[in-house]
């Protein structure tokens, strides 16, 4: 996360906008969705100064001007691989051993040519 809590003119930032109030949303939504507003976030270059949550206009990569509440300054991507999955740890070892055992009985060519031996 970035430490900046204020956007200055020209900073790369993200703003938040409410696109639709719950009452204006599509019909036939499940209740847990229907009771929430439709929110939107978009990134661009700040056109002025603002603090977090304050109104700010940005210019997006396509040159559109969008006005919303400042939600992040220099927003990052915090996706990771995370820890290995214990339930998958055995997969490679087991399958390699099985393949070796199969080829020891069936001959090394295995599926190699034609496959209809």
């Amino acid at each position: 996360m970035t430490d900046a809590t204020r956007a200055r003119e020209g900073d790369w930032v993200e703003v938040e906008c409410k696109l639709l109030d719950p009452a204006d949303r599509s019909k036939n939504l499940p209740p847990e969705t229907a009771e929430k507003p439709l929110m939107m976030w978009v990134k661009g270059f700040a056109q002025g100064e603002a603090g977090m949550g304050e109104e700010l206009t940005i210019e997006t990569m396509t040159g559109r001007k969008v006005t919303g509440a400042l939600s992040a300054v220099n927003p990052g991507y915090f996706i990771t691989y995370g820890n290995p999955i214990p339930e998958l740890a055995h997969v490679g070892r087991d399958l390699r051993a099985r393949l070796a055992a199969y080829r020891a009985t069936e001959g090394p060519a295995g599926a190699a040519e034609g496959g209809d031996r």
Binding site: T62, V91, G92, A101
Partner: protein, 470 residues
Amino acid sequence: MATRFDAVMARRGAIMRKALGMDYSEFELSPVAFDYERMMTAHGYSLDDIVGIQTRAGVGNTPLLELKNLTDLVRSISEAGKGARIFVKDEAANLAGAFKDRRASVSIHVAKEKGYEGVIAATSGNYGAAVASQAARNGLKCIICQETFDSRKVGQPEIVEKGRICESYGAEVVQMTVGPELFFHMVELLDVTGYFAASLYSSFGVSGIETLGLEISREMRALTGADPTHVIITHAGGGNTTGTARGLKRAGATSTQIVSASVDLSGLHMASDNDFNRKSFTTGHTGFGVPFATWPDRADVPRNAARPLRYIDRYLTVTQGEVFYLTEAMAKLEGLERGPAGNTAMTAAVSLARGLPRDATVVVQETEYTGAGKHHWSQLNFAKEMGVEVRAGDPKDNVPGKVIVIPEALEQIHANDFDVARMRKSYVRNALKNAPEGYAPTADDVVFLAADTNSDAAAVEALLAELKEA
């Protein structure tokens, strides 16, 4: 007073006509039927033209690899004489990492030729990266509308990564909370920008996938002396199945069986703020596969070019845990570390190949790029954070949104046949439901419905009679 939503949607037809650069009304034949083949060829590009466009775009001619280790492993668990040879088209080798580049390359070529300043697509998938990458090469502006977050602003790592890559290619990414109104905002943006609608479901995009079928036929003939007996396709909106099958037919591979495969997400609501982050697959699943196959024209174009029921011979489903297992196995056994969603068909192929004779050939027709977020470990760690139980066991105990069961052994992978006859019936029901009330289908409509469901006139007549009774 009309809401903003209603006001935009009321003008939707006119906005889309301008943004698609083509008038779909000229293909309409009746309240039920339209001229599908005429729509598919109205752009005027031959298959050779499309190959040329894609070659210049850095798309296509991906490696076809035989998976000898996986084939032998499948044979080790098959009855004597069984275990088809398995091959894969490594579509991750396309410019932006997926077969979606084939779709995007044609759409972006058309947008550029017609003189649009930019393009817009609504997608949370690899298609966004493909459109953004091709737009960058062609100097076009690009907006990607993405359903990214639940109402707490928590995003699936896979979708967050796809947003990142689009921004990396210089696209403006408009990220939204859960809901079908994504399309309302896309229409609104098309209206204010005047950009081209690079729809996933236009004839431009689906025509672009035909080259994949063409390459598979040509490369398999060179490698094995014959067309594949089976091509298995990860199935979401149906474009992948439709385009690949059309390309195979155009190459003369008329006896190849077309098998679609999706991850079973039954029970999860696609528009639910609660369920949104409880699914580990954001594409290639039944939540798109079934509704789009049984009513293709729910898409963002007046008539969807993706009409998979025309081509599907079988539709298989697998569970999330089985696909994660196979994704891990592919890296360790075949040196192919690829994204899990693209391995859906690979997983079903294990089950399919096991039941086929050894001289049968199964081509898995795609892979997709992987990386932080779009990796099976990211997905499983995120599922655990969202309260989904992840455990080893029998995949039969899988419950979408609640329990992901990772198989303990390869023989536990078992794809289930989804009832295609039932899908045909729902399609016919939906076609009638979307015609004016009381409309009686004509003989020409019956011919169209038979073609659109890959059945015959007698079968459609019987279905119509049955629906009338009900």
